[in-house]
Each structure stands twice: as C-alpha cells, then as structure tokens.
Symmetry: C2
Subunit: 154 residues, 2 copies
DNA sequence: GGCCTTATTATGAATAAATCAAAATAAGGC
DNA sequence: GCCTTATTTTGATTTATTCATAATAAGGCC
C-alpha cells in the first residue's frame, strides 16, 4: 500500500536524497518536500497549510525548521522577493530565474535568457568569486495587463 | 554660508528633483538623500544614524517614512537582499546590479554584463511585460576568500 | 513678512516573518 | 526491541516594518 499523500516513487526519491545529505527520513520532511513540489513558490504559511492535510498538528515553527534545513542541504531553493515572505521550490541546480507580477504578485519560473547562464559572468565583480546569480524580473502579467484598474469600477 | 552637512550644489540638485516629483523640500528628506548618497547600500538603521549627525532627534519611523516615499518617487532604489533588511541607494535608472559576499554580507555595485540590459529579454516570460530585472550575484569577496575560516583560529 | 492650507513628520502602538532555547519525541543502527 | 542522537515541538523572543493619529512646518498668497 502506498503512503498517504505522495506516490511511493516520489517518496522514495526524497528519501534517497535525504539520506544522501545525511538526514533522517521523517514524515515531516517528506510532507514538506511534497507540498513544495506540488505548490512551487509557496510561502511558509501555505506550505504549513498543505502539510496539515496529512499532518494536522504540525506547527508553523516546525515547518520553518524543516524548510530552513532543507534549504541548507540544497534540496529546496528559497526565493525572497520584495514585499513578500520567503518562498520555496524544489527546482534546484538548473539556473532558472523568476518573474513576479507587480499587479497580483504571482511568480513564474523563467529560464535563463541565453541558456548557459550569461548572468554568471558579469563585467566587474570587484574580485568576487560568483557562485549564484539570482535574477528577478518584475512586470505586469497578461491577466493584470488586461484589467489594469479592475478594482476601480469607477 | 553653506548648509550644515551637504554641499549647496547637491542640496540644490535634491531640492529640484523633489519639486519635480511634487514633493516639498524638507530638511529630513535632504538629510536622508545625503546620507544614502554618501553611504550606498545602507540599511534603515544606518541611514537613521547618519541622519542623526545633523538631525539628532529624528526617529527611525520618520526615516522609514521618508525612505519609503523617496523610493516610490524613484529618487531612491530599494534593494532587498536575503538575510538582510532592505538597503537603499541613490543610483537609479542605470540598470546596474548587485553582488553580495556570502562571507561578510558586503554589497557592491555591478554593471550589467553585456551593457545593454541583456537580462531584460528573457526567453519566456509567460506573457509578462517586463519592466525591471534585478540581478543579485552571490559569492565570496576577495577579502573573505583570503581568510576562509579566520574566525576558527583552531 | 505673516497667514493659511495641506503635506509632512513625530509618536506610540501594532504587525508579520523568522529565529531561538529547552523539552519531548522518534529514526535508524545495533 | 533498545539506545543514541537527530529531529520536532513548544512557547517566547527578536527584528524589520507599517499603521493611525496628533503635531508641525513648507510654500503659495496677500
């Protein structure tokens, strides 16, 4: 019989990765990984809400602990957009970036412009060894552009 | 006789810009603009400390109000790096980006890689009209690379 | 130069996000 | 199944920021 929420296959994948990072496999970690995987760019609150569908009594603090730990191992990626609490996603190590709508706040994944991480080779880094380049595009999504002032029904 | 802290010339420049944005010219705004101009990437706390050398009784909240308002007019640019409160700078409208040292947290300006805003034309924006592209490089600065574990004097 | 309107600033409290320390629990090796 | 130690829980705490309201001052006008 399969596990409660996630398919056995994905659960196995997470378990293997957790072990590879020297972490124990717990239902909390699996539930958080599953939640973030199915709801990319979710904030801690939202992750907690999803996790509670399988673990009703988990506290927000515990979710924070797990999210922080998984981010440190590299299994999760944390995005910190302006005017929004931190968001999390399972898509890591593929150098993709993000676009945030200034209207509704929605966040979408955006692949790197040139494909091979052009932003990792800036002109002048003041002697810094660049390890990560996070790009955040901001603009108006198609929906918000269609109804620029829908809230002001004159 | 010149004004207290800033040169008359820069003060005049800020004043003109404030008026152009329909804002009144106040000593608080001038002091904040001057502080941010001389200490780029300063956080609100630091801006308040600098401003207090000329306006000793200004409260942190007032500094926040001014910073927020000036950011809305576009006279200041707000940077929100991970694991740091918001930072401010007077360099606006020149499409430059930032590099943050993962060791010491220092932030440096970085001009755009290709010069003409390559990051403004990503491959797939899901129908979004991109207005801004903020790039944050993270890596180890020369100083921190030189002494990787200076705190652990074993 | 002084007055008046209205923007701006000050004040104090409140909120949201995230972290921390210590106690309770459970994973996984034996 | 037991024991060690990682993990989770709990509750309090911190930090960054915002909000509502009252006090103040900028700049146009006479």
């Amino acid at each position: 019989m399969t596990s409660t929420a996630a398919s056995a296959a994905t659960t196995d994948k997470w378990s293997a990765q957790l072990r590879a990072h020297g972490r124990r496999v717990t239902k909390q970690r699996l539930a958080v990984l599953d939640a973030v995987d199915h709801s990319p760019h979710a904030v801690a609150d939202e992750v907690a809400a999803i996790v509670r569908t399988t673990l009703p009594d988990i506290s927000l603090q515990s979710v924070y602990v797990v999210l922080t730990d998984l981010t440190e191992t590299g299994m999760l990626r944390r995005i910190e957009p302006p005017h929004s609490p931190a968001r999390y996603e399972t898509r890591v190590d593929d150098n993709h970036h993000h676009a945030m709508c200034t209207g509704c706040g929605r966040i979408e994944d955006v692949d790197c412009a040139v494909g091979h991480a052009p932003c990792l080779t800036p002109s002048n880094t003041h002697g810094m060894t660049i390890q990560i380049a996070d790009v955040l595009y901001q603009g108006l999504c198609a929906d918000c552009a269609a109804k620029p002032a829908a809230d002001k029904t004159s």
